[in-house]
Symmetry: C2
Subunit: 199 residues, 2 copies
DNA sequence: AATAAATATTGAACAATGTTCAAATACTAT
DNA sequence: ATAGTATTTGAACATTGTTCAATATTTATT
């Protein structure tokens, strides 16, 4: 016999709260990867995990909370990638070029995830979010330190590098009909780094 | 006697099509300036000009069309500003610093307009939009030309400069809780330009 | 001047969004 | 067993963008 439920259901406990949160983040991530940030709706995510929108609001305080969770995951992955770069490369220039390379790879391989993280205004900003940002930025800072005497300059240099990477990828996306000729992001990043690494 | 209209109204012709378009753009612009991009809704704009949403769809093919029109106006204003800079300054470095200054001013004085233009993904892209972009970018290109031998390098340099300005302002906005210390955009742009202008 | 055609405007509707919440259910501790 | 707590739902609400038949007005034609 099949259970036909013609009224509201109560607790199912198919998954723990933590498992459910994981499921939601994964489903949301997949939606973003496959159909872009616009497909990340409460109903789409809920359908993907076999629950209703209301359940999501038991896990996240709002849809922005889910976005933040997905972004944090992206940042953690990226932080691991550049940690690897920092360990592999010994020279400052190789480290910085490696970080830039990793950034461009992320943008190219997961454009929608990149877009959700860097090209969609979000004012959620939990403590976990702040930490995830630091997980990345502190390493960039570490890499720019040898380039300058005082730490203030190092921080400024790190921010400039980071800003330029952002900007170049944004420009790339916004110019489907391009300004003049098509310059691949790598070319622009190279142009920048050649100057940036010149003492 | 007051005309009470209890059914659908027809043509009023209070304004010409062109006047109405102007009214809509102006009202939309004001809404964005005062309440941010999120306030730019069809109903808000319609109410502000004393019409209904349907009328807007007679003027623009979609809400993105209205956004594009507002952005084009922002770009035209900015193009005029840097044209003034280009005329006033004679040295390359002064021109580039002037352009950067103007960009930061725009970001600081009209953060919401800046956000609508540069920080909100939009895939409208009419011919008029392309032209407005060129009205700005061609001048940046003109300014970077003396910095490099071949035109390809000049174009790349212009794009790098432009990307960095974008990125720095984005970073500024996204970091209400800041990464490390607060670095004013001017400081970062200076850090960048000092390196950029070094031959 | 009368009539026809074109245009402008509306209100009402549609689908989709985020979000809330009482009701109902199932699990947990007593 | 019973009471209490946590979870899940469905239905609702307000807001989006957008469409469109109906209507009113202006313009063109006869």
């Amino acid at each position: 016999m099949f259970k036909i439920k013609d009224h509201t259901m109560g607790r199912r406990k198919d998954h723990s709260r933590e498992e459910l949160t994981e499921l939601a983040i994964d489903a949301g991530r997949t939606l973003v990867i496959e159909k872009g940030p616009a497909a990340l709706t409460a109903r789409n995510v809920a359908r993907a995990i076999g629950y209703t929108p209301g359940t999501l609001y038991n896990l996240f305080e709002s849809i922005d909370g889910l976005i933040a969770a997905i972004n944090i995951r992206s940042m953690e992955t990226f932080a691991r990638t550049i940690r690897e770069v920092m360990r592999r490369e010994t020279s400052t220039s190789a480290q910085l070029r490696g970080i830039a390379r990793a950034y461009l790879d992320f943008h190219q391989e997961s454009p929608h995830l990149w877009s959700l993280l860097f090209a969609s205004p979000l004012d959620y900003h939990s403590e976990a979010y702040r930490e995830a940002i630091h997980g990345i930025f502190d390493q960039v800072l570490e890499a720019t330190e040898p380039l300058s005497a005082d730490p203030d300059t190092a921080r400024r240099k790190a921010k400039v590098l980071w800003s330029t990477l952002h900007g170049i990828c944004l420009l790339q996306d916004s110019s489907k009909l391009n300004v003049g000729q098509q310059d691949p992001p790598e070319t622009l990043v190279n142009e920048f780094l050649n100057q940036f690494l010149r003492i």
